[in-house]
Amino acid sequence: MAIKIVVNGQDLEVSVSPMKRLLDVLRQDCYLTGTKEGCGEGECGACSVLVDGEVINSCLVPVCQVEGSEIVTVEGLAENGKLVPVQEAFIKYGAAQCGICIPGMLMAAQALLDSKELSKQTPTRYEIREAIAGNLCRCTGYMKIVDAIEAAALSTLEKK
């Protein structure tokens, strides 16, 4: 079945089984291997991507369900090689250890920074923890991840 999706701003048509997981379509058919598979059942958030601006688990969504949607993966965050604030902050704060959770963490963090309620104020640490509640870091490196998101939120707000 031919399915049209927009991935990182690019119109694509993929010819796959309609029940193929969005995760597998991104990795195998779009060659975007930044999105990782952890548990495959919605527990770990390593496969998080944005669909029409909302963060979802791409392992729980068959591709037919997102036909016509705009999908952003970790590869689509930076523009022309320029990293977005949340990526810059993850580097600056050393928020990555083994790294497998980081693409998902970045997408969950970006969704938080994009949310309307936070356009006027930075999120509290509690709100940041809630926003990444669906993302597990098996190195348990959460403190630096929260620090990085807090710093990214601050620098994003200062630019507005």
């Binding site: 029940m19 059942e41 919605g42 979802i56 729980l60 969950a108 809630e130 509640a133």
Partner: protein, 333 residues
């Protein structure tokens, strides 16, 4: 996963027309629970009808003195909707506490109410339990640490839906449609105990779809809230949860609904607590006193006796929060 047909429905009519009374055609909304069921082979449908493509089911509308919540409204939308948060904090909290942000952005209210049990014996291919046509509940002699303490004689599952707990407290109504038309069902009559039908958790027929959840706006002086206790602070299924809706005049309780989740195969009303509250000026000490009635009639099994104390505690907390009207200090529950 076995092979099946996948069809996008354009309307409720086109969806219901495809449904079969033998259950071989299944509805898919957010697809969170049904994907699990397909992978675990607890169901083998010949066709899946996607209703995400049906218009008009994604809105939260105000109609006279009621709020009509379309069946496709996601848990995220419920948790952030201003009217839901103001009028029905119990429902907003229950939706916010369920699963992860990623799942809440996809999972729908209709699907959440209709989830199948999370019981590990039900979900495992290795066990044939009552729900799957077998002749015993393996939780009775097995690992039942998260299972029911009420109504567990036949099947000891706990109902998996947190929003259902809030909706029972709020006396919601459900609009259910099939090819012949629609019916409105009070949520008290929606869920069924295993004694009535061990293979289903509700009265929904294989040919029907829930299209709306209807909530009457609470009377003046009414307050409601929901508290969930889980093993870890981050996302988890509830060990125990409770929703309270109380109508008060001058601090005195006129009527109350106290509903326990993760306690029984259906959202379980603590009727003794509800009765004891009427006519009382509710404060922290009254809350603690009546909360002991929450476990009246409980029959804990080998591994879940801890739930008795847990339910007493969270009922007392929820009643105190509702009576004081201070919903701000929920962090840490």
């Amino acid at each position: 996963m076995n092979k099946f047909e996948y069809v996008n429905a354009s309307s409720v009519k086109s969806a219901t027309e495809q449904l079969q009374s033998d259950g071989s055609v299944r509805i898919k909304a957010g697809g969170i629970d049904i994907l699990d069921e397909l992978k675990e082979r607890t169901i083998n449908p010949k066709r899946l009808v996607n209703i995400k493509t049906v218009g008009g089911l994604k809105e939260i509308k105000e109609v006279k003195d009621s709020l009509h919540i379309g069946t496709l409204v996601t848990l995220s939308e419920l948790a952030s909707n201003k009217q839901v948060k103001t009028l029905f904090p119990a429902l907003a909290e229950a939706a916010l506490g369920a699963a992860t942000p990623q799942i809440r952005n996809v999972a729908t209210i209709g699907g959440n109410i209709c989830q199948r049990p999370r019981c590990w014996y039900y979900r495992s291919e290795e066990f044939s339990c009552l729900k799957k046509g077998g002749n015993e509940c393996h939780a009775h002699l097995g690992d039942n640490r998260f299972h029911a303490i009420f109504g567990n004689d036949k099947c000891a599952m706990v109902h998996p839906s947190a929003t259902a707990v809030a909706l029972v407290a709020l006396q919601a109504k459900l609009k259910i449609e099939d090819t012949k038309g629609h019916r409105i069902v009070e949520i008290d009559n929606f869920f069924v105990k295993p004694e009535e039908n061990a293979k289903a958790e509700n009265i929904l027929k294989p040919t029907e779809i829930i299209t709306e959840v209807i909530l009457a706006k609470p009377a003046v002086g009414s307050r409601n809230f929901y508290i969930k206790l889980k093993e870890k602070q981050s996302f988890d299924w509830p060990m125990a949860d409770v929703a309270v809706a109380m109508e008060m005049a001058g601090g005195v309780c006129k009527a109350a609904r106290v509903v326990l989740g993760a306690a029984a195969p259906v959202p379980w009303r603590a009727v003794a607590v509800e009765k004891a509250l009427v006519g009382k000026k509710v404060d922290a000490s009254v809350a603690e006193e009546v909360s002991r009635l929450a476990i009246e009639g409980a029959k804990p099994m080998s591994h879940n006796g801890y739930k008795l104390k847990v339910f007493e505690t969270i009922v007392a907390r929820a009643l105190s929060v509702v009576a004081s009207g201070d919903f701000s200090s929920k962090e840490g529950f």
